[in-house]
Symmetry: C2
Subunit: 520 residues, 2 copies
């Protein structure tokens, strides 16, 4: 019967050694480091050749120099011309390549995104890959009904509380909007409160209007311990989509940028053009335009403040051209974001992309496949910051607690893939192979095996690896149900004291906080 | 409200253009080619550097030259020594590097795997990536009970019938074994019958014993139209795991190989060592041993027949070192198989790897994530033939109809990712960008967009892209349920006449065929 591989059976004969390994693992459990933590070195996947990257960026520079940007607020035009920009014959704001390159040169190539707990500090740049969240879902997948309902500010807090405990999310940016708050400034303030209360990781948020910025900064200062404290170690970045594709500025967002730069707050400068709708459908042309637009956002920010910490977030989005609707998944968006990561790396900027935006509504096989393809492609390509990477559903209209929890484990597996190989005399182990072949005839429980087990292998916590019989006997669980249990465990835990009682009282005194302490 | 991207809403304003596109698509529906068919050019992902590949293969050659292989049947030893092999001081069969390189040189670098319908011919080699099936699952996920039960010969037929209609499976090798047939030779004959009856694609099977080969070839000849017809255009490959890791031959499989080469049947020469159990746990050492073993299989086959068509199937498997059980998923096995693909490409051989071996039992989010990670990694790395890529569940113990159907669509998305970018004046479209920006202000319905829509975008058939409201109104379907409908549609269709009535009668006259015509 040796003619076909009997993989599972063959391995199962090694149960004794497995027990020994488990025993050894338990003994050292506290000391086992994560074999593939956030920050793995990406770049082994290069869908664009070096020459193709140059061709695309050449065309992007040319667009910015000749076609330029429309709908430029007066104060931006003034500042941009002072920076060295020019107007073309149509009155559009243009930037010569040399000027753009000078600004790129002056933009920080690496910097630290601070957590409130220093253990969460991220040093972004290079080819290091970090996955984190983002999103503005107006609907949340209800954990009880398994249907979508309007997102609330309580959801905003709960997602932060959940994300705080998911070890492969390197930061936590808001994933939904509290649709139960009508006033758009109060909505921003309450989002800031929900985030700072829920997690001590580096956070990220958006602002509906420029008028939201000052009160949110006041809140952050209270959290940080006093006026001006936030700016010393800004623990929050601003997500800002300042481009209305194709090739125009968005007035509200430009006004927000002008305000943000006063507070030393890093800006995640997002372009979210959609191939076939607000940008070209051919993939190469898509990247030409979005690269030009992302550079236009960089130029806008530098018009207000040179050398600001900017994340170059070129997020090439895709529509389903059959319906005109945004679609977050598929091969096109996966390779587009991988290509965008290459371009950011080529320019030497800290790059952001967006992945894992499942079109699926259910926490199902479609979701798992959709999220993994785009998240793996971007990470392997060396994207510095991969946004939207956990929880997002329904083509960004929805967000799910269970999905976020499962995504955390998916990201660990992807990070393990990105880590790749270490090739050296120890890992090649020629002599060890000879020894095991000539003596034991297997490698179970050997010294080399035990070392690798603890150093090189990621062991999932949620994935079911039981055989079918044990699985059936345990009630034939699926991933959705397994994740639900984990979510409830995390959300039912007591509130962390990430905001001191004094600061919390001061915030509630100063602002209209909708979140009741009882639900936190 | 321009401060955060409003991706979905923004796109939905383009419904009119979407309708126009749909209309146009319908008009030309018959003519739309698959934008990313099997055979895409991989290789953009290179987890091993060129130097690391050389180091690993150097060590593999060294193993084969000095440590060599144990448990060598006498007739193989005789043939291998005649080929130029030698025995080391322990009496193990060794091959000098120069000899191995000479055999590699003489092995076909590209060849055609014939379908019985020529439209299914595959020209394998280079960096072309084909996904297909394989597996020996003893359990099938029952479509009604959603639990596992023993696989039957009827399942073998039904999986072939299903796989025949799944356009991204480039070939169909058996995925399960009919456990309802006790006699192991009759089991092989009935497997051959089930495969040829179910599909006209290139197939693949295994043989329990060498005595099965002749009767199966007789069956294939009847199907092909007469004695010796099979060998003219062999439409079936033999899956053969001839290595008992570490570094030994499996006697039964060697006997089968000696028989197979008489029939011009390509051999998929599989190594399925398990890291940490039958091979080193460190990933680099794992590839050293499995590469040596895969070369040992090649040398064995060439000892019987020089220049035989061999697929160099180095399938590095992994055990969960906590339990000693085989695990088909995770970052380790994903990067290992990608690395194995690189090594096969480096050696210039037609390479095979194994992916998509979900540990999941349910058709759930775990399954989708697990399968996608390994399948994408191998394909992007340029694996020529990716086995096990559809349907396999429960760490290869099980197989599922619904999973196979969903996997087919997953593979299309991966193939779209592998296709990557085309960068030329047309796709860069500088002038088109300027025109659309200065005129329409969007790209919906434009000529360039319509062209790309039909040429560059894959539109999934099973993935749900509805918004949450429509999804809920349609009963909140999940992928498992959606796939079930598709499976039933395919399996309830009339039997294809892939085996003529005359041939069928002749086969049933000659052999004990368990499959009743009523269930086909």
């Amino acid at each position: 019967m040796g003619a076909h591989y009997m993989a599972p059976e063959q391995a199962r004969s090694g149960r004794g050694a497995g027990r020994a390994a488990r025993h050894k693992q338990r003994q050292t459990a506290g000391a086992i480091p994560h074999p593939c933590p956030p920050g793995q070195q990406g770049g082994a996947y290069q869908p664009l050749t070096q020459q193709e990257i140059i061709t695309i960026t050449d065309n992007a520079f040319r667009l910015l120099e000749n076609l330029g940007m429309g709908e430029v607020p007066d104060y931006l035009e003034e500042a941009a011309l002072a920076l060295g920009g020019h107007l073309n014959s149509d009155g559009r704001l243009c930037f010569k390549r040399a000027l753009v390159e000078e600004i790129i040169e002056g933009t920080p190539k690496e910097f630290t995104l601070h957590g409130r707990d220093p253990k969460h500090d991220l040093h972004v740049g290079g080819r290091r890959v970090y996955y984190g969240t983002a999103g503005a879902a107006v609907q949340t997948l209800d954990i009880e009904t398994e249907l979508y309902r309007a997102s609330t500010v309580e959801d905003c807090y709960n997602f932060a509380k959940l994300g705080d405990k998911l070890e492969n999310l390197a930061w936590f940016s808001r994933t939904c909007v509290g649709t139960d708050i009508e006033d758009i400034i109060e909505a921003d303030i309450n989002q800031a409160y929900a985030l700072t209360s829920g997690t001590s990781k580096h956070i990220g948020t958006s602002f509906n209007v420029a008028e939201s910025v000052a009160p949110c900064m006041e809140l952050f200062d209270i959290v940080a311990g006093g006026p001006g404290k936030f700016a010393e170690k800004p623990f929050c970045k601003c997500h800002l989509t300042s481009i209305l594709s194709p090739m125009r500025y968005g007035e509200d967002a430009v006004a927000i940028a002008r305000e943000i730069v006063k507070y030393n707050m890093p800006i995640n400068a997002i372009v979210a053009a959609q191939a076939g709708a607000t940008a070209p459908a051919p993939l190469a042309g898509m990247l030409v335009q979005t690269t030009a637009e992302a550079l236009a956002a960089l130029m806008m920010i530098n018009s207000f403040s040179r050398g600001h910490q900017v994340i170059f977030s070129n997020w090439p989005f895709v529509v389903d051209l059959r319906t005109g609707s945004f679609t977050g998944s598929g091969g096109e968006i996966s390779v587009l974001n991988a290509g965008a990561a290459q371009i950011a790396n080529h320019l030497g900027l800290v790059g952001g992309v967006a992945t894992s935006m499942a079109d699926a509504k259910a926490v199902d096989a479609q979701m798992g496949a959709e999220k993994t393809l785009s998240a793996a492609a971007a990470g392997l390509a060396g994207a510095n910051m991969v946004y939207e990477s956990a929880g997002m559903m329904a083509s960004l209209l929805g967000v799910s607690f269970e999905a976020m929890t499962l995504d955390n484990e998916m990201l660990a597996n992807i990070q393990r893939t990105i880590r790749g190989f270490e090739v050296n005399d120890d890992t090649l182990g020629y002599d060890a192979i000879v020894k095991h072949v000539m003596n034991e005839g297997h490698f179970l429980g050997g010294e080399q095996t035990m070392g690798a087990m603890l150093r090189d292998y990621y062991y999932p916590k949620l994935a079911n690896r039981d055989n079918p019989t044990i699985w059936a006997e345990s009630g034939a669980p699926d991933a959705w149900g397994t994740a639900k249990i984990k979510v409830k465990e995390i959300l039912s835990a007591p509130r962390e004291d990430y905001v001191s009682a004094e600061a919390d009282a001061a915030i509630r005194e100063r602002f209209n906080i909708y979140l009741s302490p009882e639900v936190m």
